[in-house]
Symmetry: C2
Subunit: 315 residues, 2 copies
Protein backbone atom coordinates (compact mmCIF):
# COMPACT_ATOMS: atom_id res chain seq x y z
CA UNK A 1 0.00 0.00 0.00
CA UNK A 2 1.25 3.47 -0.88
CA UNK A 3 0.20 7.08 -0.32
CA UNK A 4 -0.07 9.16 -3.50
CA UNK A 5 -0.27 12.96 -3.35
CA UNK A 6 -1.01 15.31 -6.21
CA UNK A 7 -0.05 18.90 -5.42
CA UNK A 8 -1.61 21.39 -7.81
CA UNK A 9 -1.96 25.16 -7.89
CA UNK A 10 -5.62 24.90 -6.84
CA UNK A 11 -5.90 21.76 -4.75
CA UNK A 12 -3.95 19.02 -3.01
CA UNK A 13 -5.27 15.51 -3.46
CA UNK A 14 -4.15 12.49 -1.45
CA UNK A 15 -5.05 8.84 -1.73
CA UNK A 16 -4.29 5.43 -0.29
CA UNK A 17 -3.37 3.36 -3.34
CA UNK A 18 -2.95 -0.39 -3.73
CA UNK A 19 0.00 -1.84 -5.62
CA UNK A 20 -2.20 -2.45 -8.67
CA UNK A 21 -2.99 1.27 -8.86
CA UNK A 22 -6.46 1.09 -7.32
CA UNK A 23 -7.34 4.11 -5.18
CA UNK A 24 -8.89 2.92 -1.90
CA UNK A 25 -9.58 6.28 -0.30
CA UNK A 26 -9.16 9.77 -1.69
CA UNK A 27 -9.42 13.20 -0.09
CA UNK A 28 -8.52 16.72 -1.07
CA UNK A 29 -8.04 20.22 0.31
CA UNK A 30 -7.42 23.62 -1.29
CA UNK A 31 -3.77 24.58 -1.83
CA UNK A 32 -4.12 28.33 -1.21
CA UNK A 33 -0.53 28.68 -2.39
CA UNK A 34 -0.07 32.29 -1.35
CA UNK A 35 0.23 31.09 2.26
CA UNK A 36 3.55 30.25 3.90
CA UNK A 37 4.79 26.99 2.26
CA UNK A 38 5.24 25.40 5.71
CA UNK A 39 1.52 25.93 6.42
CA UNK A 40 0.58 24.44 3.03
CA UNK A 41 2.74 21.40 3.78
CA UNK A 42 1.15 21.06 7.23
CA UNK A 43 -2.24 20.81 5.47
CA UNK A 44 -0.74 18.19 3.16
CA UNK A 45 0.50 16.19 6.17
CA UNK A 46 -2.90 16.45 7.83
CA UNK A 47 -4.47 15.15 4.61
CA UNK A 48 -2.19 12.10 4.70
CA UNK A 49 -3.32 11.32 8.26
CA UNK A 50 -6.92 11.70 7.16
CA UNK A 51 -6.72 9.26 4.23
CA UNK A 52 -4.83 6.71 6.32
CA UNK A 53 -7.44 6.92 9.11
CA UNK A 54 -10.35 6.74 6.71
CA UNK A 55 -8.90 3.78 4.82
CA UNK A 56 -8.56 1.83 8.09
CA UNK A 57 -5.37 0.22 6.77
CA UNK A 58 -2.63 -0.48 9.28
CA UNK A 59 -0.10 2.35 9.14
CA UNK A 60 2.70 -0.25 9.11
CA UNK A 61 1.41 -1.66 5.83
CA UNK A 62 2.10 1.65 4.07
CA UNK A 63 5.40 1.31 2.26
CA UNK A 64 5.98 4.84 1.09
CA UNK A 65 4.68 8.25 0.15
CA UNK A 66 4.91 9.60 -3.40
CA UNK A 67 4.29 13.23 -4.29
CA UNK A 68 3.78 14.86 -7.67
CA UNK A 69 4.55 18.57 -7.83
CA UNK A 70 4.01 21.17 -10.57
CA UNK A 71 7.72 21.95 -10.79
CA UNK A 72 11.09 20.36 -10.21
CA UNK A 73 12.54 18.48 -7.28
CA UNK A 74 16.09 17.47 -6.49
CA UNK A 75 16.17 13.72 -7.16
CA UNK A 76 18.78 13.18 -4.42
CA UNK A 77 17.61 15.11 -1.35
CA UNK A 78 13.93 15.59 -2.27
CA UNK A 79 14.02 19.38 -1.95
CA UNK A 80 11.58 21.21 -4.16
CA UNK A 81 13.76 23.44 -6.29
CA UNK A 82 11.03 25.44 -7.93
CA UNK A 83 7.26 25.40 -8.36
CA UNK A 84 6.33 28.65 -10.05
CA UNK A 85 2.55 28.29 -9.53
CA UNK A 86 3.00 27.55 -5.82
CA UNK A 87 5.56 30.30 -5.20
CA UNK A 88 7.82 27.55 -3.84
CA UNK A 89 11.57 27.77 -4.16
CA UNK A 90 14.06 25.58 -2.32
CA UNK A 91 11.49 23.99 0.00
CA UNK A 92 12.75 20.93 1.99
CA UNK A 93 9.52 19.05 1.32
CA UNK A 94 10.88 15.56 1.94
CA UNK A 95 12.51 16.61 5.22
CA UNK A 96 9.28 18.20 6.48
CA UNK A 97 7.23 15.11 5.71
CA UNK A 98 9.87 12.81 7.18
CA UNK A 99 9.45 14.61 10.52
CA UNK A 100 5.92 13.16 10.62
CA UNK A 101 6.18 9.94 8.61
CA UNK A 102 9.28 7.77 8.92
CA UNK A 103 9.05 5.98 5.56
CA UNK A 104 10.45 6.27 2.02
CA UNK A 105 9.32 9.50 0.36
CA UNK A 106 9.58 10.18 -3.38
CA UNK A 107 8.94 13.48 -5.13
CA UNK A 108 8.77 14.06 -8.85
CA UNK A 109 7.43 16.38 -11.51
CA UNK A 110 3.72 16.06 -12.31
CA UNK A 111 4.28 15.15 -15.98
CA UNK A 112 6.62 12.32 -14.93
CA UNK A 113 4.11 11.19 -12.31
CA UNK A 114 1.27 11.18 -14.87
CA UNK A 115 3.43 9.11 -17.24
CA UNK A 116 4.04 6.60 -14.48
CA UNK A 117 0.30 6.33 -13.85
CA UNK A 118 -0.32 5.73 -17.57
CA UNK A 119 2.48 3.15 -17.53
CA UNK A 120 1.12 1.26 -14.52
CA UNK A 121 -2.58 1.34 -15.32
CA UNK A 122 -3.30 3.29 -18.51
CA UNK A 123 -2.33 3.88 -22.12
CA UNK A 124 1.39 3.04 -21.69
CA UNK A 125 0.78 -0.25 -19.85
CA UNK A 126 2.89 -3.10 -21.21
CA UNK A 127 5.38 -0.83 -22.99
CA UNK A 128 9.09 -0.81 -22.40
CA UNK A 129 9.96 2.62 -23.86
CA UNK A 130 7.20 5.19 -24.03
CA UNK A 131 6.27 8.81 -23.46
CA UNK A 132 3.33 10.74 -22.09
CA UNK A 133 3.15 14.23 -23.59
CA UNK A 134 0.84 16.57 -21.71
CA UNK A 135 -0.54 19.40 -23.81
CA UNK A 136 -2.06 22.05 -21.57
CA UNK A 137 -1.08 25.55 -20.49
CA UNK A 138 2.45 24.33 -21.14
CA UNK A 139 3.88 21.08 -22.47
CA UNK A 140 5.40 18.39 -20.30
CA UNK A 141 6.77 14.95 -21.01
CA UNK A 142 7.09 11.92 -18.80
CA UNK A 143 9.46 9.30 -20.14
CA UNK A 144 9.55 5.55 -19.55
CA UNK A 145 12.80 3.85 -20.53
CA UNK A 146 13.41 0.17 -20.08
CA UNK A 147 10.25 -0.18 -17.99
CA UNK A 148 11.24 2.56 -15.53
CA UNK A 149 10.32 6.23 -15.18
CA UNK A 150 13.26 8.34 -16.35
CA UNK A 151 13.27 11.66 -14.51
CA UNK A 152 16.79 12.69 -15.41
CA UNK A 153 19.94 13.28 -13.42
CA UNK A 154 18.90 16.66 -12.01
CA UNK A 155 15.13 16.20 -12.18
CA UNK A 156 14.86 18.54 -15.17
CA UNK A 157 13.17 16.80 -18.08
CA UNK A 158 11.38 19.82 -19.52
CA UNK A 159 10.44 18.75 -23.03
CA UNK A 160 8.15 21.77 -23.49
CA UNK A 161 11.28 23.91 -23.46
CA UNK A 162 13.10 22.15 -26.28
CA UNK A 163 13.66 24.59 -29.13
CA UNK A 164 11.96 23.88 -32.47
CA UNK A 165 12.01 27.17 -34.37
CA UNK A 166 11.63 30.93 -33.98
CA UNK A 167 8.38 32.34 -32.69
CA UNK A 168 6.64 35.70 -32.60
CA UNK A 169 6.65 35.76 -28.79
CA UNK A 170 9.11 34.68 -26.11
CA UNK A 171 8.47 31.79 -23.76
CA UNK A 172 7.83 32.26 -20.03
CA UNK A 173 11.40 30.98 -19.60
CA UNK A 174 12.61 34.10 -21.50
CA UNK A 175 14.00 32.06 -24.38
CA UNK A 176 12.56 32.01 -27.89
CA UNK A 177 11.38 29.00 -29.84
CA UNK A 178 10.30 26.59 -27.07
CA UNK A 179 7.95 23.84 -28.24
CA UNK A 180 5.30 24.98 -25.78
CA UNK A 181 5.11 28.41 -27.43
CA UNK A 182 3.98 26.65 -30.62
CA UNK A 183 1.99 23.63 -29.52
CA UNK A 184 0.37 24.16 -26.11
CA UNK A 185 -3.19 25.36 -25.51
CA UNK A 186 -1.72 28.75 -24.57
CA UNK A 187 0.18 28.90 -27.86
CA UNK A 188 -2.92 27.99 -29.87
CA UNK A 189 -4.90 30.77 -28.20
CA UNK A 190 -2.14 33.37 -28.67
CA UNK A 191 -1.63 32.54 -32.32
CA UNK A 192 -5.36 32.48 -33.04
CA UNK A 193 -5.81 35.91 -31.43
CA UNK A 194 -2.89 37.19 -33.50
CA UNK A 195 -4.31 36.05 -36.83
CA UNK A 196 -7.82 37.19 -35.96
CA UNK A 197 -6.46 40.65 -35.17
CA UNK A 198 -4.25 40.73 -38.25
CA UNK A 199 -6.43 39.16 -40.91
CA UNK A 200 -9.85 40.62 -40.12
CA UNK A 201 -11.32 37.65 -42.01
CA UNK A 202 -14.61 36.15 -40.92
CA UNK A 203 -14.38 33.34 -38.38
CA UNK A 204 -17.09 31.64 -36.37
CA UNK A 205 -14.72 31.85 -33.42
CA UNK A 206 -15.82 35.47 -32.96
CA UNK A 207 -19.46 34.38 -32.79
CA UNK A 208 -18.59 31.71 -30.25
CA UNK A 209 -16.84 34.15 -27.94
CA UNK A 210 -19.38 36.92 -28.58
CA UNK A 211 -16.62 39.10 -30.05
CA UNK A 212 -14.73 39.02 -26.74
CA UNK A 213 -11.32 37.44 -27.39
CA UNK A 214 -10.60 37.36 -23.66
CA UNK A 215 -13.10 34.49 -23.58
CA UNK A 216 -11.13 32.49 -26.15
CA UNK A 217 -10.02 29.03 -25.07
CA UNK A 218 -8.49 26.08 -26.92
CA UNK A 219 -11.74 24.12 -26.99
CA UNK A 220 -13.51 26.93 -28.86
CA UNK A 221 -10.77 26.93 -31.51
CA UNK A 222 -10.84 23.15 -31.89
CA UNK A 223 -14.65 23.18 -32.10
CA UNK A 224 -14.55 25.87 -34.80
CA UNK A 225 -11.95 23.87 -36.72
CA UNK A 226 -14.13 20.75 -36.53
CA UNK A 227 -16.99 22.83 -37.97
CA UNK A 228 -14.76 23.73 -40.92
CA UNK A 229 -13.80 27.27 -39.93
CA UNK A 230 -10.85 28.29 -42.12
CA UNK A 231 -9.06 30.53 -39.68
CA UNK A 232 -9.38 28.00 -36.85
CA UNK A 233 -7.98 25.30 -39.12
CA UNK A 234 -5.06 27.54 -40.06
CA UNK A 235 -4.22 28.01 -36.38
CA UNK A 236 -4.56 24.30 -35.75
CA UNK A 237 -2.44 23.45 -38.82
CA UNK A 238 0.37 25.53 -37.37
CA UNK A 239 0.04 23.81 -34.00
CA UNK A 240 0.14 20.42 -35.73
CA UNK A 241 3.17 21.43 -37.82
CA UNK A 242 5.17 22.13 -34.68
CA UNK A 243 3.71 19.35 -32.57
CA UNK A 244 4.79 17.01 -35.38
CA UNK A 245 8.32 18.41 -35.05
CA UNK A 246 8.19 17.93 -31.28
CA UNK A 247 7.01 14.35 -31.70
CA UNK A 248 9.62 13.64 -34.38
CA UNK A 249 12.31 15.10 -32.14
CA UNK A 250 11.39 12.88 -29.21
CA UNK A 251 11.10 9.93 -31.61
CA UNK A 252 14.59 10.50 -33.08
CA UNK A 253 16.11 11.12 -29.66
CA UNK A 254 14.82 8.12 -27.70
CA UNK A 255 12.77 6.12 -30.23
CA UNK A 256 9.87 5.05 -28.00
CA UNK A 257 7.29 2.48 -29.04
CA UNK A 258 4.30 4.55 -27.96
CA UNK A 259 3.53 8.22 -27.29
CA UNK A 260 0.34 9.08 -25.42
CA UNK A 261 -1.10 12.58 -25.53
CA UNK A 262 -2.74 13.96 -22.39
CA UNK A 263 -3.66 17.36 -20.98
CA UNK A 264 -6.45 19.71 -21.99
CA UNK A 265 -5.65 19.82 -25.72
CA UNK A 266 -5.85 16.04 -25.97
CA UNK A 267 -9.60 16.40 -25.47
CA UNK A 268 -9.65 17.23 -29.20
CA UNK A 269 -9.42 13.42 -29.39
CA UNK A 270 -9.11 11.58 -32.68
CA UNK A 271 -9.47 14.84 -34.60
CA UNK A 272 -5.97 15.61 -33.30
CA UNK A 273 -4.53 12.07 -33.20
CA UNK A 274 -5.51 11.19 -36.77
CA UNK A 275 -3.98 14.34 -38.29
CA UNK A 276 -0.87 14.07 -36.15
CA UNK A 277 -0.33 10.40 -36.94
CA UNK A 278 -0.57 11.13 -40.66
CA UNK A 279 1.80 14.09 -40.45
CA UNK A 280 4.36 12.27 -38.29
CA UNK A 281 4.31 9.26 -40.62
CA UNK A 282 4.84 11.50 -43.65
CA UNK A 283 7.82 12.92 -41.78
CA UNK A 284 9.53 9.53 -41.23
CA UNK A 285 13.24 9.09 -41.89
CA UNK A 286 13.03 5.49 -43.04
CA UNK A 287 10.05 4.13 -44.93
CA UNK A 288 10.76 0.54 -43.87
CA UNK A 289 11.02 1.18 -40.14
CA UNK A 290 8.10 1.59 -37.78
CA UNK A 291 8.03 4.59 -35.49
CA UNK A 292 6.13 5.29 -32.28
CA UNK A 293 2.36 4.97 -32.40
CA UNK A 294 0.47 8.02 -31.14
CA UNK A 295 -2.54 7.44 -28.89
CA UNK A 296 -4.67 9.27 -26.36
CA UNK A 297 -3.86 9.04 -22.67
CA UNK A 298 -6.44 7.05 -20.73
CA UNK A 299 -6.45 8.34 -17.18
CA UNK A 300 -8.19 11.47 -16.05
CA UNK A 301 -7.83 13.47 -12.86
CA UNK A 302 -6.83 10.48 -10.79
CA UNK A 303 -3.54 10.06 -12.73
CA UNK A 304 -1.83 12.41 -10.28
CA UNK A 305 -2.61 10.33 -7.19
CA UNK A 306 -1.99 6.97 -8.86
CA UNK A 307 1.29 8.03 -10.46
CA UNK A 308 2.57 9.62 -7.26
CA UNK A 309 1.84 6.42 -5.35
CA UNK A 310 3.59 4.39 -8.05
CA UNK A 311 6.80 6.40 -7.50
CA UNK A 312 7.23 4.18 -4.43
CA UNK A 313 7.07 1.08 -6.62
CA UNK A 314 9.25 2.51 -9.42
CA UNK A 315 12.29 3.28 -7.28
CA UNK B 1 36.28 -12.39 -24.27
CA UNK B 2 34.30 -10.76 -27.08
CA UNK B 3 34.73 -10.02 -30.77
CA UNK B 4 34.19 -6.39 -31.74
CA UNK B 5 33.71 -5.37 -35.38
CA UNK B 6 33.61 -1.85 -36.77
CA UNK B 7 32.12 -1.73 -40.26
CA UNK B 8 32.86 1.54 -42.06
CA UNK B 9 32.52 2.76 -45.60
CA UNK B 10 36.27 2.39 -46.19
CA UNK B 11 37.40 -0.44 -43.95
CA UNK B 12 36.23 -3.22 -41.67
CA UNK B 13 38.10 -3.60 -38.40
CA UNK B 14 37.82 -6.58 -36.07
CA UNK B 15 39.35 -7.23 -32.68
CA UNK B 16 39.41 -9.71 -29.85
CA UNK B 17 38.49 -7.63 -26.82
CA UNK B 18 38.73 -8.46 -23.11
CA UNK B 19 35.87 -7.67 -20.74
CA UNK B 20 37.71 -4.58 -19.47
CA UNK B 21 37.76 -3.15 -23.01
CA UNK B 22 41.38 -4.02 -23.80
CA UNK B 23 41.96 -4.96 -27.46
CA UNK B 24 44.12 -8.09 -27.56
CA UNK B 25 44.39 -8.49 -31.33
CA UNK B 26 43.16 -6.22 -34.11
CA UNK B 27 43.01 -6.68 -37.87
CA UNK B 28 41.33 -4.88 -40.73
CA UNK B 29 40.42 -5.23 -44.40
CA UNK B 30 38.98 -2.86 -46.99
CA UNK B 31 35.18 -2.74 -47.23
CA UNK B 32 34.92 -2.15 -51.00
CA UNK B 33 31.20 -1.62 -50.46
CA UNK B 34 30.23 -1.61 -54.12
CA UNK B 35 30.64 -5.40 -54.13
CA UNK B 36 27.78 -7.80 -53.42
CA UNK B 37 26.95 -7.45 -49.67
CA UNK B 38 27.27 -11.21 -49.22
CA UNK B 39 30.89 -11.04 -50.43
CA UNK B 40 31.62 -8.14 -48.06
CA UNK B 41 30.17 -10.13 -45.17
CA UNK B 42 32.25 -13.18 -46.18
CA UNK B 43 35.35 -10.97 -45.82
CA UNK B 44 34.07 -9.86 -42.44
CA UNK B 45 33.64 -13.48 -41.35
CA UNK B 46 37.13 -14.34 -42.59
CA UNK B 47 38.45 -11.41 -40.53
CA UNK B 48 36.81 -12.82 -37.39
CA UNK B 49 38.53 -16.18 -37.95
CA UNK B 50 41.82 -14.37 -38.43
CA UNK B 51 41.68 -12.38 -35.19
CA UNK B 52 40.60 -15.43 -33.21
CA UNK B 53 43.46 -17.51 -34.65
CA UNK B 54 46.00 -14.78 -34.10
CA UNK B 55 44.88 -14.14 -30.52
CA UNK B 56 45.34 -17.87 -29.73
CA UNK B 57 42.34 -17.69 -27.37
CA UNK B 58 40.16 -20.74 -27.15
CA UNK B 59 37.16 -20.22 -29.42
CA UNK B 60 34.92 -21.48 -26.60
CA UNK B 61 35.99 -18.58 -24.40
CA UNK B 62 34.47 -16.09 -26.85
CA UNK B 63 31.07 -15.10 -25.49
CA UNK B 64 29.71 -13.09 -28.36
CA UNK B 65 30.22 -10.94 -31.43
CA UNK B 66 29.27 -7.26 -31.52
CA UNK B 67 29.08 -5.24 -34.73
CA UNK B 68 28.84 -1.52 -35.25
CA UNK B 69 27.39 -0.40 -38.57
CA UNK B 70 27.05 3.03 -40.21
CA UNK B 71 23.28 2.76 -40.38
CA UNK B 72 20.36 1.14 -38.62
CA UNK B 73 19.69 -2.44 -37.60
CA UNK B 74 16.54 -4.12 -36.43
CA UNK B 75 17.06 -4.64 -32.69
CA UNK B 76 14.98 -7.84 -32.72
CA UNK B 77 16.17 -9.92 -35.68
CA UNK B 78 19.55 -8.27 -36.33
CA UNK B 79 18.81 -7.46 -39.96
CA UNK B 80 20.56 -4.39 -41.31
CA UNK B 81 17.72 -2.13 -42.42
CA UNK B 82 19.78 0.51 -44.13
CA UNK B 83 23.42 1.60 -44.44
CA UNK B 84 23.50 4.30 -47.10
CA UNK B 85 27.33 4.41 -47.41
CA UNK B 86 27.52 0.64 -47.86
CA UNK B 87 24.61 0.38 -50.31
CA UNK B 88 23.09 -2.11 -47.84
CA UNK B 89 19.35 -2.44 -47.47
CA UNK B 90 17.58 -5.28 -45.64
CA UNK B 91 20.69 -7.44 -45.25
CA UNK B 92 20.29 -10.44 -42.86
CA UNK B 93 23.68 -9.76 -41.29
CA UNK B 94 23.07 -11.62 -38.04
CA UNK B 95 21.74 -14.69 -39.85
CA UNK B 96 24.75 -14.82 -42.19
CA UNK B 97 27.22 -14.62 -39.31
CA UNK B 98 25.27 -17.16 -37.25
CA UNK B 99 25.81 -19.68 -40.08
CA UNK B 100 29.52 -19.55 -39.21
CA UNK B 101 29.58 -18.66 -35.51
CA UNK B 102 27.03 -20.16 -33.17
CA UNK B 103 27.10 -17.52 -30.45
CA UNK B 104 25.20 -14.36 -29.40
CA UNK B 105 25.49 -11.63 -32.05
CA UNK B 106 24.61 -7.99 -31.46
CA UNK B 107 24.40 -5.26 -34.08
CA UNK B 108 23.96 -1.56 -33.45
CA UNK B 109 24.50 1.86 -34.97
CA UNK B 110 28.06 3.23 -34.87
CA UNK B 111 27.17 6.28 -32.77
CA UNK B 112 25.56 4.04 -30.16
CA UNK B 113 28.56 1.71 -30.27
CA UNK B 114 30.99 4.62 -29.81
CA UNK B 115 28.95 5.85 -26.83
CA UNK B 116 29.18 2.40 -25.27
CA UNK B 117 32.97 2.43 -25.72
CA UNK B 118 33.19 5.85 -24.04
CA UNK B 119 30.94 4.54 -21.27
CA UNK B 120 33.02 1.42 -20.64
CA UNK B 121 36.51 2.86 -20.97
CA UNK B 122 36.42 6.56 -21.87
CA UNK B 123 34.87 9.93 -21.12
CA UNK B 124 31.48 8.59 -19.98
CA UNK B 125 32.91 6.01 -17.57
CA UNK B 126 31.21 6.05 -14.18
CA UNK B 127 28.13 7.92 -15.39
CA UNK B 128 24.58 6.70 -15.10
CA UNK B 129 22.90 8.91 -17.73
CA UNK B 130 25.09 10.35 -20.46
CA UNK B 131 25.40 11.05 -24.16
CA UNK B 132 28.09 10.88 -26.82
CA UNK B 133 27.41 13.35 -29.60
CA UNK B 134 29.48 12.72 -32.73
CA UNK B 135 30.02 15.78 -34.89
CA UNK B 136 31.30 14.75 -38.28
CA UNK B 137 29.85 14.60 -41.78
CA UNK B 138 26.55 14.19 -39.96
CA UNK B 139 25.57 14.20 -36.29
CA UNK B 140 24.89 11.09 -34.27
CA UNK B 141 24.09 10.47 -30.63
CA UNK B 142 24.65 7.45 -28.46
CA UNK B 143 22.66 7.49 -25.26
CA UNK B 144 23.34 5.80 -21.92
CA UNK B 145 20.37 5.62 -19.57
CA UNK B 146 20.52 3.99 -16.18
CA UNK B 147 23.93 2.53 -16.97
CA UNK B 148 22.78 0.85 -20.20
CA UNK B 149 23.06 1.78 -23.86
CA UNK B 150 19.65 2.96 -25.06
CA UNK B 151 19.27 2.21 -28.78
CA UNK B 152 15.52 2.71 -28.97
CA UNK B 153 12.62 0.43 -29.74
CA UNK B 154 13.19 0.31 -33.51
CA UNK B 155 16.93 1.02 -33.52
CA UNK B 156 16.37 4.55 -34.80
CA UNK B 157 17.94 7.09 -32.45
CA UNK B 158 18.92 9.67 -35.04
CA UNK B 159 19.55 12.80 -33.05
CA UNK B 160 21.17 14.56 -36.04
CA UNK B 161 17.72 14.58 -37.64
CA UNK B 162 15.90 16.36 -34.83
CA UNK B 163 14.53 19.67 -36.12
CA UNK B 164 15.85 22.89 -34.59
CA UNK B 165 14.92 25.62 -37.09
CA UNK B 166 14.65 26.44 -40.78
CA UNK B 167 17.74 26.27 -42.95
CA UNK B 168 18.82 27.49 -46.37
CA UNK B 169 19.31 23.96 -47.66
CA UNK B 170 17.48 20.66 -47.17
CA UNK B 171 18.96 17.72 -45.30
CA UNK B 172 20.01 14.49 -47.03
CA UNK B 173 16.82 13.04 -45.49
CA UNK B 174 14.81 15.51 -47.65
CA UNK B 175 13.44 17.34 -44.62
CA UNK B 176 14.38 20.87 -43.65
CA UNK B 177 15.82 22.06 -40.34
CA UNK B 178 17.69 18.95 -39.12
CA UNK B 179 20.33 19.68 -36.47
CA UNK B 180 23.04 18.18 -38.69
CA UNK B 181 22.36 20.78 -41.41
CA UNK B 182 23.36 23.47 -38.87
CA UNK B 183 25.99 21.92 -36.65
CA UNK B 184 27.93 19.18 -38.46
CA UNK B 185 31.25 19.63 -40.26
CA UNK B 186 29.33 19.49 -43.55
CA UNK B 187 27.00 22.25 -42.37
CA UNK B 188 29.92 24.44 -41.28
CA UNK B 189 31.55 24.08 -44.69
CA UNK B 190 28.31 24.76 -46.61
CA UNK B 191 27.48 27.85 -44.59
CA UNK B 192 31.03 29.21 -44.80
CA UNK B 193 31.05 28.79 -48.59
CA UNK B 194 27.69 30.55 -48.74
CA UNK B 195 28.82 33.61 -46.77
CA UNK B 196 32.16 33.80 -48.59
CA UNK B 197 30.28 33.83 -51.91
CA UNK B 198 27.71 36.32 -50.69
CA UNK B 199 29.76 38.76 -48.66
CA UNK B 200 32.91 39.06 -50.75
CA UNK B 201 34.66 40.24 -47.56
CA UNK B 202 38.28 39.38 -46.93
CA UNK B 203 38.92 36.13 -45.09
CA UNK B 204 42.15 34.25 -44.51
CA UNK B 205 40.19 31.12 -45.34
CA UNK B 206 40.65 31.97 -49.03
CA UNK B 207 44.42 32.16 -48.56
CA UNK B 208 44.43 28.84 -46.75
CA UNK B 209 42.56 27.07 -49.55
CA UNK B 210 44.43 28.98 -52.28
CA UNK B 211 41.14 30.47 -53.47
CA UNK B 212 39.77 26.99 -54.24
CA UNK B 213 36.66 26.50 -52.08
CA UNK B 214 36.49 22.86 -53.13
CA UNK B 215 39.45 22.38 -50.79
CA UNK B 216 37.57 23.84 -47.83
CA UNK B 217 37.29 21.59 -44.78
CA UNK B 218 36.09 22.15 -41.21
CA UNK B 219 39.62 22.24 -39.79
CA UNK B 220 40.56 25.15 -42.03
CA UNK B 221 37.55 27.13 -40.82
CA UNK B 222 38.26 26.37 -37.17
CA UNK B 223 41.93 27.28 -37.63
CA UNK B 224 40.97 30.58 -39.28
CA UNK B 225 38.55 31.31 -36.42
CA UNK B 226 41.28 30.62 -33.87
CA UNK B 227 43.48 33.10 -35.73
CA UNK B 228 40.74 35.72 -35.30
CA UNK B 229 39.28 35.68 -38.81
CA UNK B 230 35.93 37.48 -38.65
CA UNK B 231 34.10 35.52 -41.30
CA UNK B 232 35.25 32.19 -39.90
CA UNK B 233 34.08 33.24 -36.45
CA UNK B 234 30.72 34.26 -37.85
CA UNK B 235 30.31 30.79 -39.37
CA UNK B 236 31.40 29.16 -36.14
CA UNK B 237 29.08 31.39 -34.08
CA UNK B 238 26.17 30.12 -36.11
CA UNK B 239 27.25 26.52 -35.63
CA UNK B 240 27.55 27.12 -31.88
CA UNK B 241 24.15 28.82 -31.75
CA UNK B 242 22.48 25.71 -33.15
CA UNK B 243 24.70 23.18 -31.42
CA UNK B 244 23.71 24.91 -28.19
CA UNK B 245 20.06 24.37 -29.14
CA UNK B 246 20.79 20.70 -29.93
CA UNK B 247 22.55 20.25 -26.59
CA UNK B 248 19.78 22.09 -24.70
CA UNK B 249 17.18 19.91 -26.45
CA UNK B 250 18.89 16.69 -25.42
CA UNK B 251 19.40 18.11 -21.92
CA UNK B 252 15.71 19.01 -21.52
CA UNK B 253 14.57 15.72 -23.01
CA UNK B 254 16.63 13.22 -21.00
CA UNK B 255 18.67 15.39 -18.58
CA UNK B 256 21.99 13.51 -18.69
CA UNK B 257 24.84 14.22 -16.27
CA UNK B 258 27.50 14.37 -18.98
CA UNK B 259 27.66 14.96 -22.74
CA UNK B 260 30.85 14.07 -24.58
CA UNK B 261 31.59 15.47 -28.02
CA UNK B 262 33.35 13.25 -30.54
CA UNK B 263 33.81 13.11 -34.31
CA UNK B 264 35.96 15.27 -36.56
CA UNK B 265 34.67 18.65 -35.35
CA UNK B 266 35.53 17.80 -31.75
CA UNK B 267 39.19 18.12 -32.76
CA UNK B 268 38.58 21.87 -32.34
CA UNK B 269 39.03 20.88 -28.68
CA UNK B 270 38.61 23.34 -25.85
CA UNK B 271 38.11 26.18 -28.32
CA UNK B 272 34.73 24.55 -28.99
CA UNK B 273 34.00 23.13 -25.52
CA UNK B 274 34.64 26.41 -23.67
CA UNK B 275 32.37 28.47 -25.93
CA UNK B 276 29.67 25.82 -25.95
CA UNK B 277 29.72 25.36 -22.18
CA UNK B 278 29.33 29.11 -21.70
CA UNK B 279 26.49 29.34 -24.23
CA UNK B 280 24.63 26.32 -22.88
CA UNK B 281 24.92 27.61 -19.32
CA UNK B 282 23.59 31.02 -20.37
CA UNK B 283 20.67 29.12 -21.91
CA UNK B 284 19.73 27.30 -18.67
CA UNK B 285 16.12 27.11 -17.57
CA UNK B 286 16.82 27.16 -13.84
CA UNK B 287 19.72 29.08 -12.35
CA UNK B 288 19.82 26.90 -9.23
CA UNK B 289 19.96 23.54 -11.01
CA UNK B 290 23.03 21.98 -12.55
CA UNK B 291 22.86 20.73 -16.10
CA UNK B 292 25.00 18.29 -18.04
CA UNK B 293 28.71 19.01 -18.20
CA UNK B 294 30.15 19.08 -21.73
CA UNK B 295 33.50 17.36 -22.30
CA UNK B 296 35.57 15.94 -25.13
CA UNK B 297 35.31 12.26 -26.00
CA UNK B 298 38.47 10.34 -25.09
CA UNK B 299 38.71 7.40 -27.44
CA UNK B 300 39.98 7.57 -30.99
CA UNK B 301 39.71 5.10 -33.83
CA UNK B 302 39.56 2.09 -31.55
CA UNK B 303 36.18 3.18 -30.09
CA UNK B 304 34.39 1.25 -32.85
CA UNK B 305 35.95 -2.12 -32.00
CA UNK B 306 35.75 -1.64 -28.22
CA UNK B 307 32.15 -0.44 -28.27
CA UNK B 308 31.03 -3.21 -30.62
CA UNK B 309 32.59 -5.81 -28.32
CA UNK B 310 30.91 -4.20 -25.33
CA UNK B 311 27.48 -4.70 -26.96
CA UNK B 312 27.87 -8.32 -25.80
CA UNK B 313 28.32 -7.15 -22.22
CA UNK B 314 25.55 -4.52 -22.38
CA UNK B 315 22.74 -6.87 -23.37
Amino acid sequence: MFIGIDVGGTGIKAGVVAKNGEILVEKSCPTLPKRDPRIVVDDLIYLIHEVINESKVNKDSIEGIGIGIPGIADPINGDVIECVNLYWRNIPLKEWILEEFDMPIYIDNDASVAALAEFETGSLKGTNNSVLLTLGTGIGAGIIINGKLHSGTHGVTEFGHTIVGENFYDCTCNRNGCLETFASATALIKYTKKIINESKEHTIILDKVENDLDKLDAKTIVDAAKEGDKLANRALDRLIKYLKIGLANIIYTIDPELIALGGGLSKAGNFLIDRLTKEVNNFKLFDDVDIAKIVLAKLGNEAGIIGAAMLCKNK
